[in-house]
Amino acid sequence: MFAIEVADIKKVYDKNIVGVERVSFNIKYGEIFGFIGPNGAGKSTTIRALMGLLKVDSGLINIEGFDCFTEGSKARENVGYVPSELSFYNSMTVRKYIEFILKQKGRNFERIDELCTYFELNQNRKTGELSLGNKKKLAIVCALACTPKVLIMDEATTGLDPIMQQKFFDILQKEKKKGTAILLSSHNLNEIQRCCDRVGIIKNGILVAVKEIGEFQNKLLKHIVFETKSNLLEFRLDGMEDLKVEGNRYEFNFNGNLAMLINLLSGIDIYNISITDVDLNDEFLRWY
């Protein structure tokens, strides 16, 4: 069973504004899935649907086998959630707030001290007095303190300093090893590439690509552009993706057998060629 299952969901808001359409992905236990896209692409809509804050118009959306809207309380029992917009009850202290959230989740208070020490959070301060970075830390502590099986984090590192970001990634890796399924939405492509196993790219409400991060890290994926004087009737090879042809200019990504590719290219009258490693930034910009 997948921890998170999203199958062909669609959500249209009032005035026919499409939130998401044809979004499908699954996340296994012990996996970190990155979710990237610009503002208004549909990331928050997808996450809010997962958290039961809105009902999708069609499609399947489950956490641990429970529908996120009709069986929301069961779906969220083992979920730790960090929203992008943070707002707390200002008069409560950090400690009291975390205890309140843990009671709402039916958890004990075992991990509070450990996590607050780890993230250097003062438990006696009122939540209304916290800076943005400290509010983020508080939200992260609340999500982790409930020993979740699923973590859903919407721009969790916004406002964190580089040291806290590193601590955050370290603890994510520990959670991953414990078997926690993690959905991490972010604008920061470097952090996604650094810690995720797979990444989904969303554009205008549609999930346009899901890639293994290993393809980028192991430099297996190459971006090739060449220009030829010949007219090629057919140009095809296993491992070739997203071929674009404009006149005599050929552009594509390749993660197949390089020797076979070089063999094929050597038979073509090429007068200009560029071969570069594809990183996540390139892949993202390709869709925009």
Binding site: M51, G52, L53, L54, K55, G72, S73, R76, E77, N78, V79, Y81, P83, E85, L86, S87, F88, Y89, S91, F100, I101, K103, Q104, K105, G106, R107, C142, T147, P148, K149, K178, G179, T180
Partner: protein, 274 residues
Amino acid sequence: MGCKMDKTMKKRAINSLYCLEFNLQKKSIIWWFAVLAVLLIIEIAFYPLMNMMIGVIPDDVYNDFTDAGISFSFDSVTEYFLLQGVEVLALGGALFLCCFVASLLTRDFKGGQSELLYTNALNRNDIIMTKYANALTMTVLFNVVMLVVELLMMCIVDIKGIVFVPLITLFLYCLILHLILVSLVFGIYLLKVKSGFGIAIAIPLLLYFVTIIALSISHNDALKFIEFLTPFTLLYEITIESPFKVNWYSFAIYVVVVLAVLGFGYKKFKKRDL
């Protein structure tokens, strides 16, 4: 790692949410209680002065008022309170309780805390029921506290003039009135969770002014139906001689209206996007 939420944990979660609401509005509640209690105290403290003023009205003027159906003779502080004190209790309490309900439901959405409250293991049903329980508890608490304040003040002003049966009936009918208004406003705010306090203030004020109109034209048979448009008329028929008299038609109409609004609001809230 992870665990299932059993009944004990769920009860603990609901209790902590229930207590949270009172903690968050602690200062506001104390201020409202203090202000309304002071108003009641002043109202009752005026009784000896009012009696003195009535004593110096010339008989012919007094008879003219009585012929016009306006009676203001008070043989006891209880009778005085049944005529004069009801406004502070009924309207003042209604305004406070309706604003309390508005805050219960809208604060989370306007302040942004809804993302954290509605994404935990309690479902929407549990959260809404807990908030409704908060509203009902506050209604009962308010009326009990005001009853105690009334009785204490009456003991100081005219202890022999205390007649318990109509005062207890007034307390009960006022409690019912407030429960009706609180439930009505609760149902409306389930439909309009991001609204301001305007609805909470407008509804009791509007219904109260309809009551004033209904009482003013009580001799006009054609417009008598107006008294059924407002639940405040529950309170205006209680006298020392007839402490149990109540406008049951108005009560029945409002129970039906409130159940319909609550049911509709609840059904819509369960399905809405938050």
